[in-house]
């Protein structure tokens, strides 16, 4: 009997245990990214920016060159790297606190310049690394370490929709929001990441993929329930779909 190999770990993913909690979405998004890097054959061309947040150690998992940014500064660091290596693939992988609170300025201006980079934004509606504080994307009435009575939007404002905000800018060529709450949406997320990287390879410009994700530990729910919460609580407020797609010109 000969055995047929039908699945293997992507070369772009290092073989090691991660520090992520059970049910955390980062593992899925890392794997999708690694699979896409393999499929596009860009592992040796890629430079990944590690942000401050749970994914700060991403260079320990993605098998490519990595550079770590200060909190919120990943798009600025990505800009510096890309301006030195315009022919390399630069990926800014960021969480919600990083991208939409402390780093809002860098996010908007990198997008507005149309930097030819790919931004993967993992939105799990909470600060994970520091133990579950309110994020700019924390849902209304959601309980966190710093909103013990629920997020009071009259006091601290409404959750920010990143895709909609960036879609007001002229330069971005691709903006899409996806989710990883079920298999169908995980597949869509992979497609979106692939498109974002392909755009960069083609020199098209700034691509932004927001991925709705889970944080069972800090939400205080089991992984299956966490996925359900993404679907029932987050998706209605953060609608999935393509916000911007460059029209093909003939």
């Amino acid at each position: 009997m000969s055995e047929e190999l039908i699945y293997t770990r992507p070369e772009s993913l290092r073989e090691r245990k991660t520090h992520y909690c059970p049910g955390c979405g980062h593992g899925i998004v890392h794997k999708l990214l690694a699979e896409v890097m393999d499929e596009l054959g860009i592992r040796e061309e890629t430079i990944i920016i590690a942000p401050v947040g749970c994914s700060v150690l991403i260079y320990d998992y993605i098998n490519a060159d990595g550079i770590e940014a200060a909190h919120g500064r990943a798009p600025a660091v990505a800009t510096g790297v890309k301006r030195v290596h315009p022919d390399k693939i630069v990926i800014s992988y960021q969480g919600d606190g990083d991208l939409l609170a402390i780093g809002t300025g860098e996010t908007i201006h990198a997008a507005n310049r149309g930097e030819n980079i790919s931004v993967i934004f993992v939105n799990n509606a909470i600060y994970g690394m520091t133990g579950g504080q309110m994020a700019p994307t924390t849902m209304s009435d959601q309980i966190t370490k710093t909103t013990p009575y629920g997020r009071n939007v009259q006091d601290v404002g409404y959750p920010i929709r990143a895709c909609e905000m960036l879609n007001t800018l002229a330069a971005p060529v691709y903006i899409e929001r996806t989710s990883i709450h079920d298999v169908k949406n995980i597949r869509k997320t992979k497609k979106a990441i692939k498109k974002a990287l392909q755009n960069q390879m083609d020199g098209k410009g700034y691509s932004f993929v927001e991925v709705l994700s889970t944080c069972p530990t800090n939400w205080g729910v089991a992984p299956v329930k966490a996925a359900k919460w993404v679907e029932t609580a987050m998706v209605p407020y953060y609608p999935l779909g393509v916000f911007r797609e460059e029209k093909e010109t003939v």
Binding site: E44, L57, D65, E68
Partner: protein, 349 residues
């Protein structure tokens, strides 16, 4: 031999940087250093380099972090309040051992302060405003020619030691026009095998300042940094001694204030007063031994600076009690006057 040209300090700095192989510049407007980004924006595109006006000082220093991590010779420039914003980035650059040149054309503070030149950021430059045990090499030019020469040196030192090198000038120096012979440095690319460039045919590189595991990783890294700084202290110190051989009194001053101190020395010498000038060119590492040796031979040391007494602390460490140390400080953008210095030194006799 190149011809001497008349140019403004800030523009000379920018031109010298390009000649020294600076390929990337990121900055944000602030007076009194705006001629640097303006010059870069005009010249970089013509000469194959990159000029980018960032959305903030914070973004600019982090673009520097990215470009340096990617292996480029890179510079940013600002003035005092802008440097405060860059401190976090400087700490990260130091933590990741990334080379770059950071320019501070100082103005008066605290806060928004004023736009006239000042020397009130000596502590920030030499002690560091960012977190952690780190050092930056600090070069203090005293005239426009020295701006050119030290800028070239700054890039070489940064690459050699993988450190942040700060050029600490001030608004007066940046705005001043003087004849200068522009350097024609022989730029040899320094190999940077640690830089991120895509892991083609090699193990991936990691540029980072986070060191969590194993438990002693961060401690060991800090010990390594301190050993590096010790080496720099032994190799990089620069200073100038002017008319000090027979001096009874010694004035210690750097940058713009040292120009006025030099004039005072000449005036005093014309009146027969034996006085000399000691001018630190590197503020970190501070020329401790050189100043200590000189101070042993004089009756009194007078520190002159445009601050409330910041370099004074290093002067006191260097003199270490072997002679008396006096102080003249000017605040908030005011300049010392040569007559004032003359009067003080004459009062010692």
């Amino acid at each position: 031999m190149s011809k001497s040209v008349l140019m403004k300090g800030n523009e000379v700095l920018a031109e010298a940087a390009i000649r020294a192989g600076c390929t990337h510049y990121f900055g944000y407007p602030i007076t009194p250093q705006n001629e640097i980004p303006a010059y870069m924006s005009k010249e970089m595109p013509k000469r194959g380099g990159c000029f980018l006006q960032a959305e903030s000082e914070i973004a600019a220093i982090n673009m520097v972090f990215g470009a340096s991590g990617a292996g480029a010779r890179v510079m940013t420039s600002s003035s005092s309040p802008g440097l405060s914003l860059k401190q976090e980035g400087i700490s990260y650059l130091a933590g990741a051992e990334l080379p770059c040149v950071v320019v501070n054309m100082m103005r008066g503070g605290p806060g928004l302060g004023g736009i006239a030149g000042s020397q009130a950021d000596y502590f920030q430059a030499t002690r560091g405003g960012g977190n952690g045990d780190y050092r930056t090499i600090v070069l203090a030019p005293g005239n426009v020619q020295e701006i050119a020469d030290l800028t070239v040196q700054a890039f070489d030192l940064a690459d050699k030691y993988r450190m942040v090198v700060m050029i600490l000038g001030d608004g007066y120096l940046g705005q001043m026009s003087e004849p200068v012979i522009l350097p024609e440095p022989d730029v040899k690319p320094v190999p940077k095998p640690w830089a991120v460039s895509g892991a083609k045919g090699r193990e991936p590189n990691k540029v980072m300042s986070l060191r969590l595991t194993p438990d002693d990783y961060l401690e060991k890294h800090n010990i390594h940094l301190q050993e590096l700084y010790k080496k720099v202290e032994g190799e990089v110190t620069q200073s100038e001694a002017y008319m000090t051989d027979d001096a009874d009194y010694l004035i210690v001053s750097y940058g713009t204030s040292s120009r006025i101190a030099r004039k005072a020395v000449k005036m005093l010498r014309n009146e027969g007063v034996k006085v000399g000038l000691f001018r630190p060119v590197t503020l970190w590492p501070f020329p401790m031994k050189e100043l200590h040796d000189l101070s042993k031979k004089v009756k009194k040391v007078l520190t002159v600076e445009m601050s409330a007494g910041q370099m004074l602390e290093d002067v006191n460490i260097a003199v270490n009690g072997v002679t008396e140390v006096d102080f003249l400080g000017k605040l908030g953008g005011a300049l010392p006057e040569a007559n004032e210095i003359v009067k003080i030194v004459k009062s010692y006799g």
